[in-house]
Structures are given as C-alpha cells and as structure tokens.
Point group: C2
C-alpha cells in the first residue's frame, strides 16, 4: 500500500497535470533569436512560460486550435510546430518543407494548411496529429513549374485561398471532402502577388501586386465574377523597393466602411471606401507604414513604421482621420496585437528586448515584459475569427 | 508518512483538479425547468456536465469572464451566479435584487453589471468576488421614483449603457474610476424603451420603444449629438401586443451595411441600411420573427418565430434577400447560437427536450443532445466580443 501511495505521489510530482485555467486570456509572442515562444496572459499582463526548439522563427506566424489550447507556429524553415500553451510544451512538430511562409486553420479547426516557397505549394495537415492530409503542388505553365505560394488564408465553407507569386494566380481550395480536395484557379490576376488578406467576414480576398500597380480582388460570394483589379494608384511608388520593405497586408484596418491601408514606399496611410473599393483619402504619417491595425472597436488605427522610423507608433482617429497620439516605445517596434475587446494593446520592441502593454484609452504604459528579440504577438481570441 | 500520503491521496480523490483543457470551444445552455445549466463543447458536440441551483432561469442570459472559464448567469429572480465551467461547479452566487433582466461584463472583464426591475436600477459587482462595487438607482422625476432598467450592454471605455422603461431615458455609465461612477443621462428618448442592442463595434446603441413607433439611436462616438429617432415605421403594428411577444433586439443581424430586424407584430423581417438608418426592404417570413441572427460571416440570417410558428426556422440569404431554406426542428425553437466561425449552429428545441446542432452549409442535423426545457445557448467566444 505504501509503495503504491509513494508511486502515486511520485507520479503526481513528476507529471503535474497542466494547470486548469481558462485559455481565453492567453497568447504568445515569438522570440526569434532563441527559436522560442513566450506564453503570456492578458488579465494580469504577465509571462507564464517559454517553449523552445521551434527552429527558424523569422517571419513566423501563428494560428490557434478551436479550443484555444494549441498554437500552430509556422516557421520560415518549413517547420510546423504545435505548442500546448496550457502545458507549455511542444506537442508536435514536422519539418514539412524547405522554406515556408505562413499558414491557416480551417473553419472547423480540423485542418492546418501551410504555404510553401520550396517546393512551392500548400500542404494540409490533420490538426490533431499533424499527419499529411493533402499535398497541393503549385504547378503552372506548360512546363509544370512550381510557384512560391503566399497569402494563404482560411475562408468559410472549409476553404483555403492563396496566391502564386510566380504564376500570377489565385487558387481557392475547397477541403469540404478531405479525400477529394477541389481547386478553382484564377489566372493572370496581376504580376507577382506578394501578400494577401481576407476581410473579417471571409468575403473579399485581396492580393497586393509586386510586379505592377493596383491590387487583385476576389469576391468569394461571387466566384463567377472572377478577379477584378482595384486601386490603380496602390503601387510600389516611384522607385522599385525590395520585397522586405513591403507592408503587411494582414494588418489592414477596417472601421465601418473605411479600410486603412499602408501606402507602399510613401509616408502615407491610404483610406479606402470598401463600398466601391475607391481611394477615399490619404493621411500623412511619420514614416513608411508597415502594420496599420484597427482597435477592435474601429475607433483608432495604430501604425508602426519601417526603418529608420521603427521606434515610433502613431494613432489615427478614424472619425477625424487625424493623428491623435504619437508614442516612442523604443527601437524596432515590429508588431502589435490588441486584446480582444481593445482596452489594451501589446507591442513588441525588438531592439530593446521587451514587449510592452499600453492602455488604448489613456495611452499609459501598463507594463513591460523582458523578451529576446520579440516579433509577432498572437492571442487566443484569434481561434474564433475568420481569415486569420 | 503513511498518514500524510493517505491524506494526500484522499485529498486528490476528493478534490480532483479541474480537467486541464482549452476553454475556447466550451459553452452552456439554460435548462429552465431544473434551474441548471448544461456545459457543452463544440468540437465533438457533446455534453460535459451540469450545474444546478441557479434559481429562476426564465429569460436568463449569460456573459463570460475574459479567460473564458467563468459564466455569469443572470436569473429572473435577481440571482447573479458565477459558474466555473471547467470545474463544473457554482463558484459564487448573490441574490442581488428581487427581479432582474440581463447583465453585461465590462471591457476589461473586472466588473459585472446587472439591470434590475425591482428595485429599479443597475448594480455593479467585482467579477472575481461578486462584491458590490456600485449601486446605481434608476431614479427619475420630481418624486424620485425608480424605473425598471432594460437593455443593459457594455461599451468600450469601461462603460455600460442601459435604458429606463418607466422614465423614457438612456443612461451611459462610465466605470473607468470604480469608486467614482459617472452617469450621463439622455431624457425623453421615446416612450417605454423595452429592449436595446449595441452594434458589434460598440458605437451605436439602439432602443426599441413599446410606447410609440420608431427606435431611439445613440451614437456613443458623438454623445453631444444626443438621441435621435430612427425607423418611424418600426412599431408595434396595428394592434397593441403584450410585451412578451416583442422580438429580441439583441438578435439583430448585421451583414455588410445591412441590418436584419424582426418586425413587430408582422410576418416580416425588416432590412435596414445602416449608413442612413433607413428601411431598405422587407422580407416575408413564416411567422412573427423573434430572433433574427446572422451567421458570423454575414452570408445567412437565421430566423425563429413566435407561437404558433415556433417549430420552424427560416434561413435568408443576405445577398439575394430570399429564403433559401426552411427547417422544422420541432416545437418550441427558442434560441440559436452559432459556433464562432459559423460552421455549425445550435438550436434549443424546448418542447421536444433537446438541443440540436446543424451544419450551416449542408443544413444537415449533426447531433441532438437531450435537455430539460432548454432555452438560451451561450458559447465562450462571447468573452471576446464587445456589447454582449
């Protein structure tokens, strides 16, 4: 009896059950230099744990399981890692390609898709086991070359949508039948789509073009209408800019009918009327905008900038279209994430080695968390959103 | 030593730690007849546990803590119950008034407010401890009478907004300073506001009027403009109807610029253009609509009906404005809740004693869960939304 009890006690001590707690206020941020993520909670704004061994996390992004327990981390080295944020451990990892860029989780949470540069295509995995479910090579042209894939998002109806950089195509992948993926291809959508986004209702997919001005718009409620070109003045600016300076489209801010878009190569935020997809104005800002993100209530838009202005944040009021605040959190403000109802925002300040939390009403700095070259910040409320 | 081990073992057996699991796919539904809630999960669509002892749950509603672990259940008898949905137990309860109707949780999750009929007013509680933080009597007029309070919602900036049935007023309560609540009152907003809603960005608060036609609109981004009257044809219909047949305003559906609203006393769903708040059309439906709810992507609107048509659901396509499907789940379809990304919808079918889950793409019934007179269904993703 005593032996059994001792064994039991030892078992309990060596295998502590994951702490029981709600996962609605959890999140993580990427620590690129240490191949790790730091798990945080937003009720007390504290760090909980770290998980490492995640490979090359430059440009890494994250989606969450529908129960908000597991983070799927998409690394640049083709690594797809499944992190248990309750237990703070790696619960699965597959090196699924040589070079990848982002991913998405299906509407029902059962499938995780990764977009790959090399070999070009999309791989779809079982979200529980990380077993391969479908391999979609991005072949095109008469020689059946393979294209790099970018701008992968989920859409309602168990769909994934993505763009082919080399092929100038947008594909809609329907995974309703896991064993019979269906692909609808839209060709000649414009030269070199470099990034894309989907509106928060999952209706409009918009790809930015590196090879020419304008953007490609696909209405997923009306696929028969095909891809349309919009915003002819949305371009690379006068000079050709290297890709790494292109703004992130996923950061598009939407407030009412207006979208706020980082201009390319200009110190401007563009205002777009989403009813007719026409430009509705330009707001002069401090530098070249990178992320232009709306507070969840749409009242404010927060903007960060490319070098040499990446120490600054500007806040735009979406009613007056004026800059109402400028902050200087420090060098290397790389990413922002709002708490789900918008009362606070988290900023990664890479070169200063910290993540900071601000009150979005008072602009007061609430706390600062030490971090090793932090970049992307991702909270679990993303689990419940379309198109992330 | 052995005694300690035995004590430890006994402790572990008697106090099993709550199961560690993500809470993003959890929810509950109200079982009015047994004063209980049934906790469910939406990944496998199963029932997990029940919690009882919640008092009079007619017309009960629920909000969630920001970590998605605790459900605050607002009962009709003035009971405010805090249910731990991980541990499946009641973790707090206060009988805070004689008769209440609904509540809300503040943007930062620290305060829970309850709107009371008797005595008329709003009480604000600490979300952790359920201790009273502020008592706001709804006094009005020269005799300082107290009004019933309805239509209580949260709004950005740690605000609560509510309407005074007897006083014809809308109040905006700012709880930024917990010890110094600030109230802004809007008077003569229209006769007898009976229910209200706030748009999902937390900007527009709209109260339905029982005493006259039209609705009262308050733009929270522009309080100086005061309350405006909109929709002059939105009224009680030709006959005066009893309050219990009034549709629920919280069920308003928004898809793009269009809002879909239950007509009062007519077999119609009204379509409202939210740009100018003008009526944009009417859709003939099967009966008197009660809840008119949009699928999260806004592509479909699901409608249930008052007696004698409460065995039926109709689904409207928001692009064609046509009814694309009619379902007959059974007698007493009282409430609907979409899974957060919209792939499935849960229906409570009270008189048949079950809750049913439907695929919103195929309209196939996925499962049926036995329930004791089920009514409201509430999923934890609500924790992350404004105005619920």
């Amino acid at each position: 009896m005593r032996g059994i009890l001792l064994s039991f006690l030892a078992f309990m001590l060596l295998n502590p059950a994951a702490a029981a707690r709600g996962t609605g206020d959890l999140g993580l941020f990427i620590e690129r230099a240490s191949s790790s993520v730091q798990i945080v909670e937003t009720s007390g704004n504290t760090s909980i744990a770290s998980v490492d061994g995640l490979g090359d996390l430059s440009h890494a992004s994250v989606v969450y399981s529908r129960d908000a327990r597991y983070a799927y981390v998409f690394g640049r080295d083709g690594g797809l890692s499944k992190v248990d944020i309750l237990d703070a451990k790696l619960s699965g990892r597959t090196l699924q390609s040589g070079n990848s860029i982002g991913g998405a989780i299906s509407q029902d949470g059962r499938l995780v898709a990764v977009s790959n540069y090399k070999p070009g295509g999309v791989k779809v995995f079982n979200a529980d086991t990380l077993e391969l479910v479908a391999d979609i090579p991005a072949t095109y042209g008469s020689n059946q070359q393979r294209s790099k894939v970018i701008g992968l998002v989920d859409a309602p109806g168990h769909k994934f949508v993505f763009s082919l950089w080399d092929a100038d195509e947008i594909w809609v992948l329907d995974m309703s039948q896991q064993t019979r993926p269906e692909i609808q291809k839209f060709k000649a959508i414009g030269r070199n789509p470099y990034d894309a986004l989907i509106t928060s209702d999952g209706r409009y997919y918009i790809a930015g073009l590196f090879g020419e001005d304008g953007m490609a718009l696909l209405d997923l409620w009306n696929l028969a209408a095909g891809v349309k070109r919009i915003l002819p003045n949305y371009g690379r600016g006068e000079q050709k800019l290297p890709v790494y300076k292109m703004p992130h489209l996923e950061g598009w801010a939407v407030a009412g009918d207006l979208a706020f878009v980082p201009a390319v190569g200009r110190h401007e935020v563009l205002v777009i009327n989403m009813r007719d997809w026409q430009e509705a104005g330009r707001i002069k800002v401090h530098g070249q905008p990178i992320f232009v993100m709306a507070r969840p209530d749409g009242r404010q838009v927060w903007v960060n900038f490319a070098l040499p202005d990446n120490d600054t944040i500007q806040v735009i009021d979406t009613q007056s279209l004026e800059i109402v605040r400028q902050l200087k959190p420090g060098k290397g403000v790389l990413h922002m994430e709002f708490e789900p109802r918008g009362e606070e925002v988290w900023l990664s300040v890479r070169d200063e080695g910290r993540v900071e939390v601000y009150d979005t009403h008072t602009f007061e700095r609430k706390t600062s968390i030490p971090a090793s070259k932090p970049s992307g910040i991702f909270f679990t409320a993303r689990a419940h959103r379309i198109g992330l």
